[in-house]
Amino acid sequence: MTNDFKVIDEQFEAGRNAINSYVIGFVLSIALTLIPYVMVVNHMLSVQTAVVSVVGIALAQLLVQVIFFLHLSRKSKPEWNLIVFIYTILMVVFLVIGSIWIMNNLKYNMNMADASPLNSNEGYIPQ
């Protein structure tokens, strides 16, 4: 009987911890939403500083939500969840940075082509 109560107590304790985790996550994520909003709307920083801090805060927000809402850190065992997650993030970073890099490069080279008479289409007669 006492054992049963102990089980229920433990369940309740775990539940309270889980609620605490959600409350902390919620408060932090609200703060991490309002801070960059106020910074941007009131133009408190120069554009370059603002971009860096807004992206930094978004990454902090990602961390907060992954830890307090998705509880990724608490999953023990072989940690497959965490491994595939990190791999996916890595892929997305390659994809996004790679796209921006390549497309900017392309734009730069296309502008060069416009300027150079060698590469222009002037006088080009389609066969």
Partner: protein, 203 residues
């Protein structure tokens, strides 16, 4: 004999638990593929967001207070869903689960409604997805997120009906955890839309 039965039922319990853990992991892998989808759309937006074709840019189009309210609504819905899942997993309180799921659905519907009204406003002012590369990528990125939220709401409605009908069984609690992954994931995607599309667009 008794111990054997006990042993057997414990095995069954563990088997069920394993099955659920596997299903949850499988769903997690699906979410990873969804991250790649959104990653691609973010890359497209990053490349095209300056191609306004002489039309208005992000700075001219978006109302920041409106977007802030949208963001806070979605954040709160993620929190209220978290409460529902805690009451399902730890307290076995069906009434609280139903209540918090309904609050979540209400907030979700409010979010989708706000998004549709924003889209309708842009569209009626002539800033449709056909106007420029910037607007095409904007509507694709934000619209894909909106479709996900809408599907999540349909799913939540179905799950709510199941909870009401069958109560908090091992199966329904497992499903509540799975939908939780999806809902929190959509919140995270929105944080990046908020940051990269709206905040950086307003700079």
């Amino acid at each position: 004999m008794t111990t054997e039965i006990l042993h057997h039922s414990e095995d069954a319990h563990e088997l069920h638990h394993n099955k659920e853990a596997k299903a949850l992991f499988g769903f997690w892998v699906y979410i990873m593929s969804d991250i790649l989808l959104f990653g691609s759309l973010f890359a497209v937006y990053a490349v095209l967001h300056n191609n306004t074709f002489g039309g208005p840019s992000a700075k001219d189009l978006f109302s920041m207070p409106f977007v802030l309210i949208e963001t806070l609504i979605l954040l709160t819905s993620s929190f209220t869903y978290g409460l529902a899942s805690v009451y399902a997993r730890h307290h076995d309180r069906k009434d609280m689960v139903v209540f918090w799921m309904m609050v979540t659905m209400f907030l979700g519907v409010a979010f989708v409604t706000m998004e549709i009204s924003e889209f309708a406003k842009l569209f009626s002012e002539g800033h449709s997805w056909q106007a420029s590369g910037f607007l095409s990528s904007f509507f694709t990125l934000v619209g894909t997120h909106g479709v996900h939220v809408t599907l999540g709401l349909v799913w939540m409605g179905g799950l709510l009906a199941q909870v009401l009908k069958y109560g908090l069984t091992q199966t329904t609690v497992g499903k509540i955890s799975t939908l939780g992954l999806f809902w929190h994931f959509l919140d995270i995607v929105w944080i990046f839309i908020f940051t990269f599309v709206y905040l950086m667009g307003a700079l």
